[in-house]
Amino acid sequence: MIFVIELLVSFFLVVGAFFALAGSIGTYRLPDFFSRLHGPTKSTTLGVGGMAIASAIYFSFHGEGVSFHEVLITLFLFITAPVSAHFLAKAARHQGLHKDKPRMEKNQGFSDK
Protein backbone atom coordinates (compact mmCIF):
# COMPACT_ATOMS: atom_id res chain seq x y z
CA MET A 1 0.00 0.00 0.00
CA ILE A 2 1.11 3.57 -0.68
CA PHE A 3 2.83 5.13 2.29
CA VAL A 4 0.70 8.30 2.27
CA ILE A 5 -2.52 6.28 2.41
CA GLU A 6 -1.19 4.20 5.27
CA LEU A 7 -0.18 7.36 7.12
CA LEU A 8 -3.64 8.85 6.61
CA VAL A 9 -5.37 5.66 7.84
CA SER A 10 -3.12 5.51 10.92
CA PHE A 11 -3.71 9.18 11.67
CA PHE A 12 -7.50 8.87 11.54
CA LEU A 13 -7.47 5.66 13.61
CA VAL A 14 -5.41 7.20 16.40
CA VAL A 15 -7.35 10.49 16.35
CA GLY A 16 -10.66 8.61 16.48
CA ALA A 17 -9.51 6.45 19.38
CA PHE A 18 -8.18 9.52 21.20
CA PHE A 19 -11.52 11.34 20.93
CA ALA A 20 -13.37 8.24 22.15
CA LEU A 21 -11.05 8.10 25.16
CA ALA A 22 -11.52 11.82 25.81
CA GLY A 23 -15.30 11.39 25.86
CA SER A 24 -14.95 8.61 28.42
CA ILE A 25 -12.59 10.74 30.52
CA GLY A 26 -15.37 13.33 30.52
CA THR A 27 -17.93 10.86 31.85
CA TYR A 28 -15.40 9.69 34.42
CA ARG A 29 -14.20 13.04 35.78
CA LEU A 30 -17.05 15.52 35.65
CA PRO A 31 -18.98 16.02 38.87
CA ASP A 32 -22.66 16.23 37.85
CA PHE A 33 -24.92 14.39 35.44
CA PHE A 34 -25.62 17.20 33.00
CA SER A 35 -21.92 17.89 32.50
CA ARG A 36 -21.25 14.20 31.97
CA LEU A 37 -23.83 14.26 29.21
CA HIS A 38 -21.41 16.32 27.11
CA GLY A 39 -18.86 13.51 26.89
CA PRO A 40 -20.50 10.83 24.75
CA THR A 41 -22.58 13.16 22.57
CA LYS A 42 -19.58 15.05 21.26
CA SER A 43 -16.27 13.31 21.45
CA THR A 44 -17.65 9.88 20.78
CA THR A 45 -19.41 10.92 17.58
CA LEU A 46 -16.20 12.40 16.18
CA GLY A 47 -14.30 9.39 17.54
CA VAL A 48 -16.43 6.91 15.62
CA GLY A 49 -16.43 9.35 12.68
CA GLY A 50 -12.63 9.28 12.55
CA MET A 51 -12.61 5.48 12.74
CA ALA A 52 -15.17 5.27 9.93
CA ILE A 53 -13.15 7.62 7.70
CA ALA A 54 -10.03 5.53 8.35
CA SER A 55 -11.89 2.33 7.50
CA ALA A 56 -13.39 3.85 4.33
CA ILE A 57 -9.96 4.98 3.10
CA TYR A 58 -8.39 1.63 3.99
CA PHE A 59 -10.96 -0.53 2.21
CA SER A 60 -11.13 1.80 -0.81
CA PHE A 61 -7.44 1.23 -1.48
CA HIS A 62 -7.34 -2.35 -0.30
CA GLY A 63 -10.43 -4.23 -1.34
CA GLU A 64 -12.17 -4.21 -4.68
CA GLY A 65 -13.58 -0.81 -5.61
CA VAL A 66 -14.58 2.15 -3.49
CA SER A 67 -15.96 1.49 -0.02
CA PHE A 68 -18.45 3.97 1.30
CA HIS A 69 -20.76 2.10 3.66
CA GLU A 70 -18.86 3.26 6.77
CA VAL A 71 -20.37 6.67 6.12
CA LEU A 72 -23.74 5.18 7.05
CA ILE A 73 -22.62 4.46 10.63
CA THR A 74 -21.35 8.03 11.01
CA LEU A 75 -24.54 9.45 9.55
CA PHE A 76 -26.66 7.26 11.81
CA LEU A 77 -24.71 8.31 14.91
CA PHE A 78 -24.88 12.00 13.97
CA ILE A 79 -28.66 11.72 13.75
CA THR A 80 -29.23 9.57 16.85
CA ALA A 81 -26.66 10.94 19.33
CA PRO A 82 -28.51 14.27 19.90
CA VAL A 83 -31.81 12.41 20.19
CA SER A 84 -30.62 10.03 22.91
CA ALA A 85 -28.84 12.90 24.71
CA HIS A 86 -32.07 14.91 24.60
CA PHE A 87 -34.03 11.96 26.01
CA LEU A 88 -31.53 11.43 28.84
CA ALA A 89 -31.53 15.15 29.68
CA LYS A 90 -35.32 15.26 29.66
CA ALA A 91 -35.53 12.22 31.94
CA ALA A 92 -32.97 13.82 34.28
CA ARG A 93 -34.95 17.06 34.41
CA HIS A 94 -38.11 15.13 35.20
CA GLN A 95 -36.30 13.43 38.05
CA GLY A 96 -35.15 16.82 39.31
CA LEU A 97 -31.43 16.22 38.95
CA HIS A 98 -30.86 19.84 37.87
CA LYS A 99 -31.96 21.10 41.29
CA ASP A 100 -29.48 18.80 42.96
CA LYS A 101 -26.50 21.12 43.45
CA PRO A 102 -24.76 20.11 46.73
CA ARG A 103 -22.48 17.45 45.20
CA MET A 104 -21.13 19.96 42.74
CA GLU A 105 -20.46 22.59 45.41
CA LYS A 106 -18.79 20.13 47.74
CA ASN A 107 -16.40 19.14 44.95
CA GLN A 108 -15.63 22.76 44.21
CA GLY A 109 -14.77 23.42 47.84
CA PHE A 110 -12.59 20.36 47.91
CA SER A 111 -10.45 21.34 44.93
CA ASP A 112 -10.15 24.97 46.03
CA LYS A 113 -8.03 24.35 49.09
Partner: protein, 174 residues
Amino acid sequence: MPEYRKSLFLKNRWLPHPLMTLVLVIIWLFLVNTITFGHLLLGTLLGIAIPWFTNRFWPERPKIAKPFLLFRFFFITFVTDVIVANITVVRLFLLPDISRLRPRFIEIPLDTQDPMVITILASVISLTPGTVSSEVSEDRQTLIVHGLDVADEKTAVQTIKTRYEAPLKEIFSC
Protein backbone atom coordinates in the same frame (compact mmCIF):
# COMPACT_ATOMS: atom_id res chain seq x y z
CA MET B 1 -62.98 13.66 5.94
CA PRO B 2 -60.12 13.50 8.46
CA GLU B 3 -57.29 15.97 8.11
CA TYR B 4 -54.60 13.51 7.08
CA ARG B 5 -56.83 12.00 4.36
CA LYS B 6 -57.41 15.42 2.88
CA SER B 7 -53.69 16.07 2.73
CA LEU B 8 -53.23 12.67 1.07
CA PHE B 9 -55.50 13.67 -1.76
CA LEU B 10 -53.76 16.96 -2.27
CA LYS B 11 -50.45 15.26 -2.92
CA ASN B 12 -49.09 13.05 -5.58
CA ARG B 13 -50.46 9.64 -4.61
CA TRP B 14 -47.80 7.39 -6.02
CA LEU B 15 -44.73 9.44 -5.19
CA PRO B 16 -45.67 11.24 -1.98
CA HIS B 17 -42.13 12.20 -0.97
CA PRO B 18 -39.77 12.47 -3.94
CA LEU B 19 -36.87 13.69 -1.81
CA MET B 20 -37.23 10.76 0.59
CA THR B 21 -37.27 8.34 -2.35
CA LEU B 22 -33.98 9.78 -3.57
CA VAL B 23 -32.41 9.57 -0.11
CA LEU B 24 -33.57 5.95 0.32
CA VAL B 25 -32.06 4.95 -3.05
CA ILE B 26 -28.73 6.54 -2.07
CA ILE B 27 -28.79 4.85 1.37
CA TRP B 28 -29.51 1.47 -0.25
CA LEU B 29 -26.58 1.88 -2.63
CA PHE B 30 -24.34 2.81 0.30
CA LEU B 31 -25.54 -0.20 2.28
CA VAL B 32 -24.81 -2.77 -0.44
CA ASN B 33 -21.59 -0.90 -1.27
CA THR B 34 -21.79 -1.51 -5.04
CA ILE B 35 -23.40 0.40 -7.88
CA THR B 36 -24.98 -2.05 -10.29
CA PHE B 37 -28.16 -1.82 -12.34
CA GLY B 38 -29.86 -4.55 -10.30
CA HIS B 39 -29.26 -2.80 -7.00
CA LEU B 40 -30.31 0.53 -8.48
CA LEU B 41 -33.61 -1.09 -9.51
CA LEU B 42 -34.13 -2.74 -6.11
CA GLY B 43 -33.28 0.52 -4.35
CA THR B 44 -35.76 2.45 -6.49
CA LEU B 45 -38.42 -0.16 -5.71
CA LEU B 46 -37.76 0.21 -1.97
CA GLY B 47 -37.59 3.99 -2.29
CA ILE B 48 -41.07 4.04 -3.79
CA ALA B 49 -42.57 1.37 -1.51
CA ILE B 50 -41.33 2.67 1.87
CA PRO B 51 -42.69 6.25 1.58
CA TRP B 52 -45.94 4.86 0.21
CA PHE B 53 -46.50 2.52 3.16
CA THR B 54 -45.39 5.03 5.81
CA ASN B 55 -47.20 7.96 4.22
CA ARG B 56 -49.57 8.74 7.06
CA PHE B 57 -46.70 9.23 9.54
CA TRP B 58 -45.55 12.33 7.65
CA PRO B 59 -48.60 14.18 6.43
CA GLU B 60 -46.65 17.08 4.95
CA ARG B 61 -43.44 17.54 3.01
CA PRO B 62 -40.67 19.74 4.35
CA LYS B 63 -40.44 22.91 2.33
CA ILE B 64 -36.81 23.57 1.47
CA ALA B 65 -36.75 27.09 0.14
CA LYS B 66 -33.01 27.43 -0.37
CA PRO B 67 -31.24 24.13 -1.10
CA PHE B 68 -27.92 25.84 -1.77
CA LEU B 69 -27.95 27.48 1.65
CA LEU B 70 -28.80 24.09 3.17
CA PHE B 71 -25.67 22.57 1.65
CA ARG B 72 -23.54 25.51 2.75
CA PHE B 73 -24.97 25.31 6.28
CA PHE B 74 -24.34 21.59 6.72
CA PHE B 75 -21.05 21.19 4.91
CA ILE B 76 -19.27 24.36 6.03
CA THR B 77 -20.82 25.84 9.19
CA PHE B 78 -21.86 22.53 10.71
CA VAL B 79 -18.79 20.44 9.93
CA THR B 80 -16.30 23.08 11.09
CA ASP B 81 -18.36 23.69 14.23
CA VAL B 82 -18.45 19.98 15.10
CA ILE B 83 -14.66 19.74 14.85
CA VAL B 84 -14.19 22.95 16.87
CA ALA B 85 -16.75 21.66 19.40
CA ASN B 86 -14.82 18.47 19.94
CA ILE B 87 -11.47 20.19 20.42
CA THR B 88 -12.99 22.77 22.81
CA VAL B 89 -14.78 20.14 24.88
CA VAL B 90 -11.74 17.86 25.02
CA ARG B 91 -9.64 20.78 26.28
CA LEU B 92 -12.24 21.42 29.00
CA PHE B 93 -12.31 17.74 29.98
CA LEU B 94 -8.55 17.60 30.38
CA LEU B 95 -8.29 20.77 32.52
CA PRO B 96 -6.36 19.95 35.69
CA ASP B 97 -8.95 21.75 37.82
CA ILE B 98 -12.49 21.03 36.64
CA SER B 99 -14.14 23.19 39.25
CA ARG B 100 -13.27 26.13 37.00
CA LEU B 101 -16.07 25.04 34.65
CA ARG B 102 -19.25 27.04 34.82
CA PRO B 103 -22.03 24.61 33.84
CA ARG B 104 -25.51 26.15 33.73
CA PHE B 105 -28.82 26.11 31.91
CA ILE B 106 -29.63 28.81 29.38
CA GLU B 107 -33.05 29.53 27.92
CA ILE B 108 -33.29 30.35 24.24
CA PRO B 109 -36.48 32.06 23.08
CA LEU B 110 -37.53 30.49 19.78
CA ASP B 111 -38.63 32.55 16.79
CA THR B 112 -40.32 29.69 14.99
CA GLN B 113 -42.90 27.10 16.02
CA ASP B 114 -42.28 24.67 13.18
CA PRO B 115 -41.57 21.24 14.77
CA MET B 116 -39.02 20.19 12.18
CA VAL B 117 -36.98 23.38 12.40
CA ILE B 118 -36.95 23.06 16.20
CA THR B 119 -35.81 19.42 15.93
CA ILE B 120 -32.97 20.28 13.56
CA LEU B 121 -31.96 23.28 15.69
CA ALA B 122 -31.90 21.14 18.85
CA SER B 123 -29.80 18.45 17.14
CA VAL B 124 -27.33 20.98 15.76
CA ILE B 125 -27.01 22.61 19.19
CA SER B 126 -26.32 19.23 20.78
CA LEU B 127 -23.51 18.49 18.34
CA THR B 128 -21.71 21.86 18.57
CA PRO B 129 -19.51 23.68 21.13
CA GLY B 130 -20.21 22.82 24.74
CA THR B 131 -24.00 22.78 24.59
CA VAL B 132 -26.64 20.03 24.84
CA SER B 133 -30.30 20.81 24.24
CA SER B 134 -32.30 19.33 27.07
CA GLU B 135 -35.93 20.40 26.84
CA VAL B 136 -38.46 22.23 24.70
CA SER B 137 -41.22 23.97 26.63
CA GLU B 138 -44.79 22.76 26.08
CA ASP B 139 -45.78 25.80 24.02
CA ARG B 140 -42.66 25.56 21.82
CA GLN B 141 -41.59 29.04 22.89
CA THR B 142 -38.27 28.31 24.60
CA LEU B 143 -35.53 25.76 24.23
CA ILE B 144 -33.63 24.91 27.40
CA VAL B 145 -29.96 24.24 26.72
CA HIS B 146 -27.25 23.05 29.09
CA GLY B 147 -23.89 24.69 28.56
CA LEU B 148 -20.70 23.17 29.88
CA ASP B 149 -18.78 26.41 30.31
CA VAL B 150 -20.93 29.52 29.92
CA ALA B 151 -19.27 32.85 30.66
CA ASP B 152 -22.17 35.10 29.72
CA GLU B 153 -25.72 33.97 29.09
CA LYS B 154 -26.66 36.84 26.73
CA THR B 155 -23.79 36.32 24.29
CA ALA B 156 -24.33 32.53 24.27
CA VAL B 157 -28.01 32.97 23.36
CA GLN B 158 -27.11 35.57 20.74
CA THR B 159 -24.48 33.32 19.15
CA ILE B 160 -26.87 30.39 18.86
CA LYS B 161 -29.64 32.55 17.45
CA THR B 162 -27.56 34.24 14.78
CA ARG B 163 -25.34 31.29 13.85
CA TYR B 164 -27.87 28.47 13.73
CA GLU B 165 -31.46 29.64 14.06
CA ALA B 166 -31.38 32.40 11.47
CA PRO B 167 -29.96 30.25 8.61
CA LEU B 168 -32.33 27.39 9.45
CA LYS B 169 -35.30 29.74 9.38
CA GLU B 170 -34.17 31.08 6.04
CA ILE B 171 -33.64 27.58 4.59
CA PHE B 172 -37.08 26.32 5.55
CA SER B 173 -38.72 29.73 5.00
CA CYS B 174 -40.78 30.15 8.13
